[in-house]
């Protein structure tokens, strides 16, 4: 039978007989109540989930880079939301072996608690890295090498990374789906167009994509969301003896900043007034004007 039943006919006419000039300011076509509006964090979350699902749908072999920091923890949380509880691809920790003990404790606990398919990959010794880089950048470049090893070993065609535009000027130029060359390099001069949430997801054979689901978040967004969602954090982010870490990297090239913020609320208040850049404690950003850019072109995050 192909006849309309009376219920669906009525459905289609709902709202049509409302008089214009009614006291109701907005008439919804189908008469249903409007949904609760989204706040800023809801919008960020929805966009990130969309990106994660696009990556999962369009790439064959994904991994999520878990650096154990606040950003990648938010990212794992978002992935669990996107895929209804469990991250359906490996979490890759490229381990320099020089992280803070608190970070390793965190990794071992939440790798299990969050049911992650955790892959830990070592980095090569410092001698294997470009000797012309300044010392801290050279040390950080080990991670780029470790990443290349992991890429070769597993054959990932997509790596999900938790970088943000507001962190650093070169990161502000990133695409959400960012193609990398065969050597993992970033060709900033020839980035493809990306608009309307349509992504370039066809890396040439052997190359891979970086996917940046939280590119549009800020440092304050990360903290506000961490608080709202009750996401666990490493205590080094909170003030101890007048100092705290705003960003966590290797122990020997990361310094704390002066701060009295001992809770997420206090961090948010502090960020509201600060003009000190987030990566101020990261030595490698300050060695020479272009050290960070050189690292990124070579495949650093």
């Amino acid at each position: 039978m192909h006849l309309l039943n009376s219920d669906s006919a009525k459905d289609r006419l709902r709202g049509a007989d409302l008089k214009s000039g009614s006291a109701v300011p907005q008439i919804f076509a189908d008469g249903r109540l409007p949904p609760p509006s989204m706040d800023h964090l809801d919008e960020l979350e929805a966009q990130s989930i969309y990106i994660l699902r696009e990556a999962f749908a369009r790439l064959k072999k994904l991994a999520l880079l878990w650096s154990l920091g606040k950003d990648s923890n938010v990212m794992i949380w978002l992935a669990r939301k996107a895929f209804f509880g469990r991250v359906p691809f490996p979490a890759l920790h490229v381990d320099t072996g020089k992280k803070f003990p608190e970070m390793y404790t965190f990794r071992d606990r939440f790798g299990k608690e969050w049911d992650l398919d955790l892959k830990i990959e070592p980095c090569p010794p410092i001698d294997a890295v470009d000797p012309t880089l300044p010392p801290a950048a050279r040390s950080a470049a080990r991670k780029t090498e470790g990443l290349k090893w992991a890429l070769t070993k597993y054959g990932f065609d997509g790596l999900i990374a938790g970088i943000r535009r507001d962190e650093e000027a070169t990161r502000a130029k990133e695409r959400v789906f960012s193609p990398r060359g065969l050597e993992g390099g970033w060709d900033v001069r020839d980035q493809p167009p990306e608009f309307w949430d349509q992504f370039n997801a066809s890396p040439p054979p052997g190359a891979h994509l970086r996917i940046h689901p939280i590119l549009h978040w800020t440092e304050a967004d990360i903290w506000a969301y961490t608080k709202r969602e009750n996401i666990p954090i490493i205590p080094l982010y909170l003030s101890k003896d007048g100092k705290r870490y705003r960003s966590l990297g290797d122990q020997d090239i990361t310094n704390p900043v002066a701060s009295t913020a001992s809770s997420i609320d206090e961090i948010l208040t502090e960020l509201d007034g600060t003009k000190v850049p987030e990566r101020a404690g990261r030595a490698l950003d300050h060695e020479t004007e272009d050290a960070f850019e050189r690292l990124r072109v070579a495949g650093y995050l």
């Binding site: 949904p35 989204m38 939440f110 167009p193 608009f195 003009k275």
Partner: protein, 638 residues
């Protein structure tokens, strides 16, 4: 305990719930975009500590006078060339809101980057050099703002110091650009005279522009509104994926417009299948109650099992998008090679991708010049209208009805090469969706399997012509029937004589042939029969589609008889005709057969008797839960 597990807190975080508006700054190269951004950051007190001093030091070291634009030109390549090559984003705050400024490159060579930046914006500032006036890139950017759907545009006339702050010169430029934009349907919200270098008109009115009464740049930015989510329009939920991580079958996607709730009656387009939303799933709390609106990424379950895939669009009954194979679009083109009539392209609309060809081109023009219309090709950085014929039906809306499902991008060789707005869609040939009301069988599946001693299945035999598919299929049919089952043979050639009589042997028709076979077979399988399909089905993609349609009931058997054996058998005389050149598009003597990589079973009929091969199939069906050997097994399966 070394970790911090924050307890639930209810306070709204500071600084993150303020309205946020994203504004792109566009205009001709060297008209002062980056300078304006640098100045805005300074005037609003948004610069990181030490940044200005560092850049002044860098300038001094390089022996150059300090420029505000250095603030943004963080990449060395840009400093060397003195132009912005890619979009960058900078945040600052005004009294009432957070502003994300998107600095887009003005150089024609980097138009793709300008589009990347501008597409993310709620509003735009178009900057014009007072001395140079409106240039080609000014017009081009104005036109692209219109194509990107950005309706809020403020004009800034910069470098007023170069024209001695002349009110006449300002009016001249203001009139010219306003007329140009109005023609495109864009009304400027303000036209502001400034000197970005000196600061006049940026955050303050100065004596030098005393004749100007309108808003400053900062005030004009404050007047641009964040784009609103499209909740008032009809529901559009493009499907991103179907997840079966556990016993739920979750349809995931982002609501592009409208809203939905559990219990809603929905139509899945373009196929027009109907269902009801059973639940709205989430994590960590699930299921969710209430209504969910535009902008949300959701997951829903449906009240019935039906074939749904990435690219489908979920809508409410009575307010569906059109299903079409034909679209007219107004597009911008970014690829080096011009887009020409007859070109094969890939279209992405929502989450759907479809191969397509360009049927016609009209009104192709350089938006910087707006003259010399072409009808053969659209050159790089030009715009035009095109008619597109799609390889498969898609769900779409005209842009006027729904901006989100009314826009598309074009991909060439895996890279985005253009994009634009859907001007119109031709209705498909399909029946009106609401007429389709699937009637469920009166029998429960277990009633049938109890009688047949098997579950429903689609047994798909693929292989070269002459490989023995039909022979095996007939033997299997006899075997299953003898043990009390209900097999039904679906032979490719037999169906081509009737149901598929309208189809030929082009790639497109072969795809449709397989789709119909799979749909019929799946219907039989759902009703407890074992559909035995014998079809060459050379394309791996087509077979993958068949597997998606039949889902868990699909069993693929690769009849892997060597090609020379197949040709020597030649039961229908096809190889001979193909060799003689009298049979075109014949799979067998070319290399166009794509063998399955993950078939449930592979059989070489040159090395086995028909009876042995049939045993093997029967064993596979038993091992994969289709056949029940013993009645006790049946009990376990109910």
């Amino acid at each position: 305990m070394n970790m911090i597990l924050p307890t639930a807190v209810s306070a709204t975080p500071n600084g993150t719930t303020r309205p946020q508006v994203r504004i792109v700054i566009v205009g001709h190269v060297d008209h002062g975009k980056s300078t304006l951004v640098g100045r805005l950051l300074h005037e609003t007190g948004s610069l990181p500590e030490g940044k200005l001093e560092m850049l002044k030091a860098v300038s001094a070291r390089r022996g150059m006078p300090f420029e505000w634009s250095f603030l943004l030109d963080a990449l060395q390549t840009e400093r060397d060339q003195g132009i912005t090559i890619d979009t960058t984003q900078i945040r600052f705050r005004t009294r009432s809101r957070d502003v994300v400024l998107i600095d887009a490159p003005g150089h024609a060579e980097f138009l793709r980057n300008m589009i990347t930046g501008a597409s993310q914006a709620d509003g735009a500032v178009l900057i014009i050099d007072a001395l140079e006036g409106v240039r080609d890139q000014t017009r081009r950017h104005g036109y692209l703002l219109h194509l990107l759907g950005i309706k809020q545009v403020a004009i800034v006339v910069n470098k007023m110091d170069r024209v001695d702050f002349s009110a006449d010169r300002f009016k001249e430029i203001s009139d010219e650009i306003s007329a140009h934009l109005t023609d495109l349907g864009v009304t400027p919200s303000a036209v502001v005279p400034i000197s970005a270098r000196d600061g006049d008109g940026v955050a303050e009115h100065t004596a030098r522009i005393a004749w100007y009464r309108g808003p400053t740049v900062v005030e004009a930015l404050d007047a641009l509104e964040p784009a609103r989510p499209l909740e008032q329009l009809a529901l559009r939920l493009p499907v991103q994926a179907i997840y079966k991580f556990d016993d739920r079958r979750i349809v995931a996607g982002r609501i592009e417009s409208g809203h939905l709730s559990a219990g809603d009656e929905i139509v899945i387009m373009p196929a027009g299948k109907i269902a009801k939303i059973k639940t709205v799933e989430s994590w960590p709390v699930t299921p969710l109650k209430g209504s969910h609106g535009a902008g949300r990424s959701v997951g829903i379950t449906l009240d019935r099992e039906l074939f749904i895939e990435r690219g489908d669009v979920i809508a409410h009954a009575g307010a569906t998008p059109r299903d079409t194979r034909r679209i007219r679009a107004r597009i911008f083109w970014l690829h080096d090679k011009p887009l020409s009539k007859g070109d094969q392209i890939l279209i992405r609309l929502g989450t759907r991708e479809s191969r397509a060809s360009v049927v016609a081109i009209e009104k192709a023009v350089d938006p910087g010049e707006l003259s010399n219309e072409e009808t053969k090709a659209i050159a790089r950085n030009h715009v035009g209208e095109i008619d597109i014929s799609l390889a498969q039906p898609i769900a779409a809306d005209p842009y006027q009805d729904n901006p989100r499902t009314g826009r598309l991008v074009i991909e060439v060789n895996g890279r985005i090469a253009g994009g634009g707005l859907v001007l119109s869609v031709d209705a498909g040939q399909r029946a009106v969706p609401i007429d389709i009301v699937p009637v469920e069988s009166a029998l429960r599946p277990e009633e049938r399997s109890a009688r047949y001693r098997h579950n429903g299945a689609v047994v798909w035999l693929t292989g070269l012509p002459g490989s023995g598919k039909s022979t095996l299929a007939r033997a299997l049919e006899r075997r299953l029937f003898s043990r009390g089952g209900s097999p039904i043979l679906l032979d490719g050639d037999t169906l081509r004589a009737g149901l598929n009589g309208d189809l030929g042997f082009s790639a497109q028709d072969r795809t449709e042939n397989i789709r119909r076979l799979a749909e019929v077979a799946t219907h039989l399988a759902r009703n407890g029969h074992i559909a035995v399909v014998a079809a060459v089905s050379p394309s791996a993609d087509d077979r993958a589609a068949a597997r998606r349609i039949a889902d868990n009931s699909f069993r693929e058997i690769y009849v892997a008889t060597p090609a020379e054996v197949c040709e020597s058998r030649d039961p229908k005389g096809h190889y001979a005709k193909a060799r003689a050149g009298t049979l075109q598009a014949f799979t067998g003597i070319g290399n166009d057969y794509q063998p399955p990589a993950r078939a449930e079973l592979s059989i070489d009929t040159s090395a086995k008797t028909v009876s042995d091969a049939t045993d093997e199939i029967e064993r596979m069906l038993a091992e994969t839960g289709i056949l029940f050997d013993e009645l006790v097994d049946l009990a376990a399966n109910i």
